[in-house]
């Protein structure tokens, strides 16, 4: 294992976060605070409790998930797309690093950044609403698995994209709608029966449900199902990345 290479890429990616601190860290905190002001304080006070949890507290896991998904995807996709765009990818391709090491480094850095943002949002949320975390171990596990899975997805998007528009396309037009419709702001039990069934095809439902269960002990679907679906999606992303490196898709001529 080329540990030095993993460290070098990881540090490089984390240094990029340091240089773009406002965009990377401050901006999601501000937008999340705005969600709390609007949904938690202004509108939330007029909404009844959901499953015995105040609406402001209910949306915390969903909001963290929303940021975690978009941050993971955008960090990882940009991390691998930018060297392809500028041409500096030649160095990584010519280095004695395995595909696994490249993925660990880029995805590890993207996931780390997303988790940091997630934890900052959690801390920010604690300023607005009383929080309880019934299963902190599970909470961290879902946080980690989701960040890694969606960083892998971001890595795939960063390799697939051949322009900046495509780079933005998936996060904006797929991830964000799926997160909004995946129960970030409501319990799917609030939906009519037909839409409850349709919603189950949205993979984000399982992530948010499992994550919310780790906070309040209640979920739209069983926590085992949530975990299994997360792992399934993780395996799917790994399979696609394995294929990318095996064929050299968009990386090697």
């Amino acid at each position: 294992m080329n540990i030095h290479a993993i460290k070098a890429i990881y540090r490089f990616e984390m240094a990029r976060t340091g240089r773009t601190l406002f965009q990377s860290i401050v901006s999601p905190v501000i937008s999340t605070s705005l969600y709390f002001v609007v949904f938690g304080a202004a509108i939330g006070s007029r909404i009844a409790e959901v499953d015995g949890v105040s609406y402001g507290a209910f949306i915390v896991p969903g909001l963290i998930m929303l940021s975690l998904l978009t941050q993971s995807v955008s960090n990882a996709s940009f991390g691998i797309y930018f060297p392809r765009f500028t041409g500096t990818i030649y160095e990584v391709l010519s280095a004695p690093v395995s595909y696994l090491e490249i993925v660990i480094a880029y995805v590890g850095a993207a996931a780390t950044k997303a988790i940091i943002v997630g934890l900052i949002i959690l801390a920010t949320a604690a300023l607005f609403v009383p929080l309880e975390i019934q299963h902190p171990g599970w909470m961290l596990l879902f946080l980690l698995l989701t960040a890694v899975t969606f960083s892998l997805l971001g890595f795939i998007i960063g390799i697939w994209a051949d322009n900046f528009e495509k780079l933005q396309f998936v996060p904006m037009l797929i991830i964000t709608p799926l997160a909004f419709l995946g129960g970030s702001f409501y319990s799917i039990s609030m939906l009519p029966p037909f839409w409850q069934k349709v919603t189950l095809f949205n993979p984000v439902v399982y992530l948010i449900s499992g994550f919310r269960w780790s906070f309040y002990g209640q979920a739209d679907v069983g926590v085992g199902v949530s975990l299994a679906m997360t792992l399934l999606f993780l395996g799917l992303c790994l399979a696609v990345i394995w294929w990318i490196f095996r064929t050299g898709y968009r990386l090697k001529s």
Partner: protein, 308 residues
């Protein structure tokens, strides 16, 4: 001595159907400077890219110090440093950070003293904290060389190393390359500048349309293919080459003041003695004479013009 780089029957056809390399075989000796010459699109960069792992070969094998570039890619690649043709650098990294990054990427532990030496050797030390975006093109080229040297490679590929570099910097870079060779690093450079190959190389390879047309010791190449010319500056201009000299295949300059005789230095007889006797017999007097040898550029142009 076993070659440090061995390329056998390497071919590459891109998805577009363009065949960039046609069964290329080449061996590079340890410690030499090898110049690969060829016109645009000849396959130089494709060849380098395959050896360095950036492009997959269609067929054939490459070994670096006995390590197959596919099977033993870690060992093979850790021996190679690559300076690409394009000035591709990160914009906001410092010189120090980017060179240190390259060292780590190639699996070497941190060694500030080695990074410092590389930067000093390339006259980059006073720029070590500068952001890459603030550097000139020539300085960026040096940074790319520093990045390629950071992991102490045994083989260094320089793809058009002095393209767009001013004369002073180019000579400076030649000095750096020679110093590297003196430390035992094998250097393979592609270039459009014939002067560069003539100045630097121990051996020269010419690639054209995906095929190696020739590989030769530079001095031997110059000797073998180098035509020599004898120019005679006439005392009285001529309107045409006199019939008495027609056997010598002479050329007359447009102003009629110079007779040019081309001969082969490797031939048993150059024909110069007979020519001078015949000139004397026909009463042609000359004021001065000089000889000149073909440059590598002329040799190169002749080679790539010839249908292969």
């Amino acid at each position: 001595m076993a070659p440090i780089l061995s390329i056998s029957d390497l071919s590459k056809t891109y998805d577009t159907g363009f065949q960039a390399l046609k069964t290329v075989s080449l061996e590079i000796e340890k410690g030499e400077i090898f110049a690969l010459l060829g016109p645009n699109g000849a396959g130089k960069t494709t060849l380098i890219s395959i050896v360095c792992g950036i492009v997959n070969a269609s067929s054939g094998t490459v070994t670096v110090d006995g390590n197959d570039i596919v099977r033993d890619y870690r060992a093979a690649r850790s021996l190679i440093g690559l300076v690409p043709q394009e000035l591709t650098t990160d914009a906001f990294e410092s010189v120090w950070a980017t060179v240190s990054f390259s060292r780590g990427l190639f699996g070497k532990p941190k060694a500030p003293e080695i990074v410092e030496k590389v930067l000093r050797d390339l006259s980059l030390w006073d720029k070590k904290d500068s952001k890459l975006v603030t550097l000139s093109g020539g300085m960026k080229r040096r940074v790319l060389i520093a990045k390629a040297l950071a992991h102490e490679p045994r083989v260094l590929f320089l793809d058009e190393p002095t393209a767009g570099v001013d004369v002073e910097l180019r000579r400076d870079m030649w000095r750096v390359i020679r110093e590297l060779r003196d430390t035992g690093v094998t250097i393979i450079l592609t270039t459009h500048y014939i002067e560069e190959a003539e100045e630097m190389a121990d051996r020269v390879g010419v690639i054209n349309k995906g095929e190696i047309v020739l590989v030769e010791e530079k001095a031997e190449l110059m000797r073998k293919l180098g035509r020599k010319q004898l120019a005679l500056h006439l005392a009285v201009p001529l309107a045409a080459v006199p019939d008495g000299l027609s056997a010598h295949n002479l050329e007359l300059s447009d102003d009629g003041e110079e007779l040019i005789y081309t001969y082969d230095t490797t031939g048993e007889r150059t024909g110069i003695t007979t020519l001078l006797q015949d000139l004397n017999a026909t009463g042609i007097r000359f004021r001065d004479l000089q000889t000149r040898q073909s440059s590598l550029e002329e040799i190169f142009v002749n080679l790539v013009r010839t249908p292969s």
